[in-house]
Amino acid sequence: MLLRFGLMFATWWPLDTIVPWFVNLNDPSRTNDLKAMTIVWYYSYMVYDCLFTILLLYSLFNLQYRSTLSSSSQGHGLYIIAFKAICHNIFSLGGLYAGYNYTYFGYTLQNLSTVFSLHLINWKFEKYFTAKHWSSTSTKMNMYRSSGGPATSTTTIKIKVKPLPVDRARENNNSSSVIREMNEHSRAEQQLNSSNKEAALNALSKMED
C-alpha cells in the first residue's frame, strides 16, 4: 500500500507538469479532470510526507539498536531528531489539509505551516534540556573524583583543565564526539599518557550514563 502511494506521488508530478502541454486544462469541460488531479495530489503528497518520516524513523531505529557506539545520550539525541521529524510531518500534513480545503487562501496557510515547521521545530530548543543533563552529570563526576575512583589524580586535573565544551557537546550529542572534541586539544592530549587516557574515557563513559 505504502509503495503504491509512493509510486502515486512519483507519477503525480510528471503528470501534473506534462499534461498541461497536451490538454487545455482551462477548458470548462476539464473541471472534473482538475478535481481528480487535485485529489491525487492531496493523497499522494500526504503519503509522501509519511513515507519519508517512516524511512527516517526506521534509519534512527537502526542507528540506535544496531550501532556499537550507542549510549544513553546518543539515544537521547536520536529521540530528539525523531520527535522533530514527526512534528515536521504533522505541520506539513496540517498545511496540506488547509491547502486542499481552502482554495486560494489555503496556499498561504500551507506556506505558513512550512515556516513554522522549519523555524520552530529546527530551533535547538533541546539545548536547554541538554545543558541541565550535562550539569547534573558533571556534579556526579565531581563526587566520583572526590571519592577516589579508578581515575587517577592526574587525570582528574586534566579533565578540570580542559572542561568538556558544553556547547559543542550539546550539538554533538554522543560520547564519541565528546571524545573527539577532547582529542582535538593537543595540550591535553600531550599531558595524558595512555593509561590516563583510558581512565578518562572510562570516566566519560560513566558521565554518559
Binding site: 527516517l56 531528531i81 487562501f105 515556516v115 522549519l118
Partner: protein, 113 residues
C-alpha cells in the same frame, strides 16, 4: 470566506516575526536551515500579499490571474515547497551517511520534483 482574509495578514506578520527571530538567533551566519527558513518566510509574505491583492479586486481579472498563478503559485509557493522538501531531504541524508551518491542524487531530484 472573509475570515480567511485575516489569516493572510496574520501570515505576513508571523513570517516577519520569524524572519526577525531568525536574524536574532543566527546573525549573519550561514546555516542551511536558516536559509531555508528565510526563503519560506519571504515566500509566505509574498504569497499572502498576492492573495490579498488578487482577491480584493484591486487588480483586473487578467492581472490577478497572472499574479496569483504565475508569481504566487509558480514562484513563491514553489520555492516554499522546495525549501520544505529540501529540509526533509537533508535530514534524511544526515541520518543515512552511507547513502550511495547515485541514490542521493536520485532522491534529491525526487524530493525537489
Amino acid at each position: 470566506m472573509p475570515g480567511m482574509y485575516g489569516w493572510q495578514y496574520a501570515a505576513m506578520i508571523i513570517s516577519a516575526v520569524v524572519l526577525i527571530h531568525s536574524f536574532l538567533i543566527n546573525g549573519t551566519k550561514y546555516r542551511t536551515v536558516r536559509v531555508l527558513t528565510d526563503i519560506a518566510a519571504i515566500t509566505t509574505i509574498g504569497q499572502a500579499l498576492i492573495t490579498v491583492l488578487s482577491l480584493e479586486n484591486l487588480l483586473n481579472e487578467r492581472e490577478s490571474s497572472y499574479l496569483f498563478n504565475v508569481v504566487g503559485q509558480g514562484v513563491f509557493a514553489l520555492l516554499n515547497q522546495f525549501s520544505d522538501n529540501y529540509a526533509v531531504y537533508v535530514r534524511y541524508i544526515l541520518i543515512n551517511t552511507k547513502f550511495p551518491r547515485v541514490l542521493r542524487i536520485f532522491t534529491c531530484c525526487y524530493v525537489l520534483g
